[in-house]
């Protein structure tokens, strides 16, 4: 934006009188030093000491004067330049601190295990917990499935029509939304995973990546819908109070 601009144009307020140098060349020099100090303090992870500033700014700069000027510039802004012991740092203006606590969402990364289970559910849906275990070769902790349910990317779809009637899992519309997929079939197939270098080109014969169902909302023939009673059992619905 200001690339290559060496002219320093922002005005030093003359009304402040004494502190500001009258000699234009010296003023220009100081103004450029102020810009430099501003960038250095901004980019630093720690408060920057006056000594560090002296060593990084051009020689002959009156660092205290430059910092005083910078502090003045930021005095009434949304961000202030503050001095902490002998060092300088930018901080949000005190009266705007409320803005910093308004954001109440914690960004969490999914654990490796959760990502793996999620991806198995996405590709192999409808899939039961035992089947997930079979594909992954490790047991799935309850916490992992709970986390995935909390993301609202995974849902219980129904029950498999096999002994024990295990619950089947699948993905939700939120899942599609989050990962930018129009439909579940847009998940890359085996060839594309290979092409992207995610899967070795030399997989054992018989290895395949399933094509997810075209309409994941429809129950398959070997699935029963979840009933209210199922939901109660799974703790997803509060038991109905029967009046006695």
């Amino acid at each position: 934006m200001t690339e290559g601009s060496n002219v320093v144009p922002f005005s030093l307020d003359d009304e402040d009188g004494d502190a500001v140098e009258r000699n234009p060349a010296v003023r220009l020099h100081l103004a450029e030093a102020v810009r430099m100090a501003e960038a250095i303090v901004f980019a630093s992870a720690e408060p920057v000491s006056e000594r560090q500033l002296v060593s990084r700014l051009p020689e002959g700069i009156d660092v205290p004067a430059a910092m005083a000027e910078l502090q003045r510039i930021y005095e009434r802004r949304g961000v202030n330049l503050v001095k902490v012991a002998d060092s300088w740092a930018f901080r949000t203006a005190g009266d705007l601190a409320f803005l910093m606590s308004r954001d109440t969402v914690q960004q969490k990364k999914l654990s490796r295990a959760a990502l793996e289970v999620l991806s198995v559910i996405a590709y192999h849906q409808p899939v039961t917990r035992a089947e997930i275990e079979d594909i992954r070769g490790v047991e799935t902790s309850k916490g992992t499935l709970d986390t995935l349910m909390e993301t609202e990317w995974v849902r219980m779809r129904g029950r498999r029509k096999t002994p024990g009637r295990p619950v089947t899992y699948g993905t939700t519309d939120k899942f599609l939304d989050h990962f930018g997929l129009e439909e579940i079939r847009d998940l890359p197939g085996m060839e594309e995973l290979k092409g992207a270098g995610l899967l070795s080109t030399r997989m054992p014969p018989g290895f395949s990546v399933p094509l997810p169902p075209s309409d994941p909302d429809l129950l398959t023939e070997d699935e029963d819908p979840l009933t209210d009673i199922d939901l109660e059992e799974l703790g997803l619905l509060t038991p109905r109070v029967t009046d006695d």
């Binding site: 980019a43 630093s44 969490k108 793996e116 909390e150 054992p204 990546v209």
Partner: protein, 280 residues
């Protein structure tokens, strides 16, 4: 225009400097490039390099001269017995075809593109590749975040509430999927049964059989009965031979062989100890 290209041909382009330090890496992490004689990225890259040496605008290069240079390059490489990747040879064949088209004027009944049309295609591809090269160099020479331009070094974190919002990219998801499927597939392969006879197994088998061996018997003869398949033959022989030597040592069997590679005979030890031969 010609001047600009000339200087480009003479001193290394800005990208070359940038790439120079990666030259070694390329060879290792990109197996398809190993046979790449002079460090070219495929035949088109080589052609572009040759075209630049003509020191004129790409729109004005002589395609015929370029084709000649390429064909000479390939024949020299072969004379030096350098192995050229198939891509280069395919290109050579195509260029030879192009050359013949360019030399022989198109006849009215001819099917397909004329030599000039094919040459234009080649010219377009070279220009496009060169444009991408230049663009890449302009791109990487921009002010870059974390190198020339910086973000706030000490971001002020917002106060966090209990609500969680999970994030993962499609890439995270796909690599998690591919990674575990691959791991599983490979683990399965390793688990597949391996037909190895342990020394102990072989010895147990021999010990159980030793009572039956009143007379000299070829080792293979009775081992065959225990072999479940040809793939186990080598390991069964090796293990049981080693086991039989142990049994000779502790005096439970006798062993003999007439000459190297001849059948090995075994029998239960007779009351009077006999000399064993050729068991080494």
């Amino acid at each position: 225009m010609a001047d600009a290209l000339e200087s480009k041909a003479q001193k290394p382009a800005p990208m070359d400097r940038l790439w120079a330090e990666n030259a070694d890496e390329r060879m290792t992490d990109d197996p398809s490039l190993v046979v790449d004689v002079a460090g070219f990225e495929g035949p088109l890259d080589l052609l572009l390099h040759l075209a630049r040496s003509q020191r004129v605008d790409l729109s004005r290069i002589s395609i015929l001269a370029l084709v000649e240079q390429y064909l000479i390059f390939v024949s020299q490489a072969r004379a030096l017995r350098l192995e050229l990747a198939a891509d280069y040879l395919v290109m050579a064949a195509w260029l030879a075809f192009l050359k013949s088209k360019l030399l022989i004027p198109k006849l009215p009944g001819d099917e397909g593109e004329s030599g000039e049309e094919l040459a234009a295609v080649l010219q377009f591809r070279l220009k496009r590749l060169e444009a991408m090269r230049d663009a890449a160099s302009r791109l990487v020479n921009r002010n870059r975040l974390g190198r020339d331009v910086f973000q706030r070094g000490a971001p002020e974190l917002v106060i966090i509430d209990k609500r969680n919002e999970y994030s993962a990219s499609l890439y995270d998801l796909l690599s998690a999927y591919a990674g575990q499927r691959q791991r599983q597939a490979i683990t399965n392969v390793q688990i597949a049964k391996r037909g190895v006879w342990s020394l102990k197994q072989a010895r147990d088998i021999l010990a159980r059989m030793v009572g039956e061996l009143k007379d000299w018997t070829a080792l293979d003869h009775f081992l065959i009965r225990y072999m479940t398949g040809p793939e186990e033959r080598a390991t069964a022989l090796a293990s049981s031979f080693a086991a039989s030597l142990e049994m000779v040592r502790d005096g439970s069997v006798e062993i003999r062989q007439h000459e190297p590679f001849a059948p090995i005979y075994l029998r239960e030890r007779q009351s009077a100890p006999r000399q064993t031969e050729g068991a080494s």
